[in-house]
């Protein structure tokens, strides 16, 4: 009797061991975490309380909320999968984009900082990646990358209207500057309307003198810091 019981116990322990190992292997499956900080697009200050949701079709969303320092962490993302990321907080533009998780066979933590644009009347958003070349009013190759984001946000937030304002690159010729900055404003407005934003939501304001908030430097500036007139987008109604 005792030997038979021992055999049964032995077999049971084998079954539990195999099951336990299977669970361990499952726990070792590669996952990816995405971490980063959420910043205010106008002030570049960290923003807390921003809800960041990663959703894969047919699955429960992975959700995180940025803390006081703007930090967020979303974990348990599947390598090689594409998620729709929604970024939202009252008082800011809702944003949404696709994110492809790196394909990896080990645990990996990748970093992705997020910018949220303020959604309040009078808020001014600087265009950090300049859409124009020096002394030119034609949108440069690649300006679409940023303007597409703007058009996307305006379509997601259909009650918002904005004013596009452009400043010149120098103070040498005010009338020529006015012509150029008007053309720059028109170029941006035309692009946004071509992307489905109603023209009535887009007003323009051109300036003939350089931006007093961002004056032209006197000393020689390093590469990457060549002065090009500022472009802003100001929320006029929400």
């Amino acid at each position: 009797m005792i030997p038979r019981m021992m055999i049964v116990l032995f077999l049971l322990s084998c079954v539990f061991t195999v099951k336990s190992q299977a669970q361990d292997n499952s726990a070792l499956e590669a996952v990816v975490s995405v971490t980063g900080y959420v910043y205010d697009g106008a002030t570049r200050e960290p923003v807390n309380g921003v809800k960041v949701t990663f959703t894969k079709r047919g699955h429960n969303p992975n959700i995180a909320t940025s803390n006081k320092g703007g930090y967020y962490l979303v974990t348990s993302l599947e390598p090689g999968e594409t998620y729709v990321v929604r970024v939202e907080k009252p008082g800011f533009f809702q944003d949404e984009f696709e994110y492809s998780v790196p394909n990896t066979n080990r645990y990996q933590e990748v970093s992705r900082d997020l910018l949220v644009q303020p959604l309040r009347k009078g808020a001014t958003i600087p265009v950090y990646v300049h859409p124009f070349e020096l002394n030119k009013s034609k949108l440069k190759v690649g300006a679409s990358e940023f303007l597409d984001e703007v058009a996307h946000m305006l379509r997601l937030n259909p009650n918002v209207s904005i004013e596009i304002s452009c400043y010149p690159d120098s103070d040498e010729n005010e009338s020529a500057n006015m012509k150029m900055t008007n053309e720059r404003c028109d170029a941006i407005r035309s692009y946004l309307t071509s992307k489905g934003v109603e023209a009535k939501r887009l007003s323009i304001r051109a300036f003939g003198e350089t931006d007093p908030r961002n004056p032209k430097p006197i000393r020689k500036t390093p590469k990457g810091k060549r002065y090009i007139g500022s472009v802003y987008m100001t929320i006029t109604s929400i």
């Binding site: 992705r112 990646v129 390093p222 590469k223 060549r226």
Partner: protein
């Protein structure tokens, strides 16, 4: 097609008149070999000394042969000015960074873009490919971060965040252990390249202006850094001991490069000058007035050819003449 619009070779002697009575130890002939459509912001010579790349405000990268200086290809794809470039250690890939916020990796042989890496939230200013075959790329951005990327998985590995202002330049040590970064916050930080450590290993202080360029020697024992006031500092690594300060240029210094002897250091500046230094002694061994603002310069291993990228869009080759004697001290502090 090779675009030579400056057919004549100009004697370096013409440019040495800026320091009368003081002979240089190295003298060069200058030749304009071609041009971009706008300012040339970076040049980088490959490890084999057979090719170099230039990048420009015109949003393109060009590949050139060495020592011939013939234009081989133009790489397009960036949506903003291309701020810097770096070859991989085996010269098969080129990494570039741009004001379009992207890092792009190119197949050098095919002259084609392989992929773009996105994650920086502002202009990307500095890039350095690891030279040890690990396939990692370090980048620095005006968003204040340094990022390490893995070319195998085409993804970011880690973000290093201690700089208080924008990062202007990064350098990968040739032994693969460290990354140095220079920032508008006047500091240089040294980071580990392991995947887990995100705190800097040390902060080098002493610059009184934004640090625009950092560069390791080939033996990884020297780090040269330069700033917006035209000052070069030479640091012993990995200790971080300051060895020397040289008041090198009258304007900001945008680029530095070491020769393979780990002693000869090249500096270039919008003050029109390209200078060569013995960083063990502080002696200036070459000084050429290019007649135009210079954004970038690099050299082949023995320093016999210097490649120069200028603000007028020209790409120039300086070819060494027979050695001459003399000594020329920099304004050492």
């Amino acid at each position: 097609m090779r675009n030579i619009f400056f057919a004549g070779v100009v004697s370096a002697a013409l440019f040495l008149g800026t320091i009368p009575g003081q002979a240089q130890t190295r003298a060069y002939n200058m030749e304009v070999i071609g041009e971009h459509n706008d300012e040339v912001l970076g040049v980088f010579v490959n490890d084999a000394d057979t090719q170099f790349a230039s990048c420009s405000l015109d949003e393109t990268i060009k590949l050139w042969s060495l020592p011939q200086g013939e234009e081989q290809a133009t790489l397009t794809g960036h949506a903003g000015q291309v701020n810097h470039i770096s070859f991989s250690g085996d010269d098969s890939m080129l990494a570039s960074v741009s004001s379009d916020r992207s890092v792009r990796v190119w197949d050098v042989k095919k002259a084609e873009q392989m992929y773009a890496l996105k994650g920086h939230t502002a202009e990307v200013m500095g890039v350095y490919f690891s030279q040890d075959g690990s396939g990692l790329i370090a980048t620095g951005s005006f968003d204040g971060t340094v990022k390490l990327w893995d070319t195998e998985f085409q993804s970011e590995i880690k973000t290093l965040r201690e700089h208080k202002l924008g990062v202007n330049s990064v350098a990968y040590s040739y032994d693969g252990k460290y990354i140095a970064s220079g920032s508008d916050d006047h500091t240089v930080k040294v980071w580990s390249t392991d995947f887990d450590t995100k705190e800097s290993l040390m902060t080098l202080r002493g610059h009184k202006a934004p640090v625009l360029i950092v560069q390791y020697s080939f033996d990884s024992k020297i780090l040269a850094t330069a700033d917006q006031d035209g000052v070069i500092k030479i640091w012993s690594m990995p200790s971080g001991e300051l060895l020397r300060t040289i008041n090198a240029h009258t304007e900001l210094i945008q680029d530095l490069a070491f020769a393979a002897d780990n002693t000869t250091l090249l500096s270039s500046s919008p003050d029109h000058h390209v200078k060569m230094w013995n960083c063990e002694t502080g002696d200036k061994v070459m000084d050429m007035d290019m007649g135009v603002e210079v954004w970038s310069a690099d050299l082949v291993s023995n320093g016999s050819i210097v490649v120069v990228g200028c603000a007028d869009g020209t790409v120039r080759l300086l070819t060494e003449k027979a050695a001459s004697g003399g000594n020329n001290k920099g304004d050492e502090e």
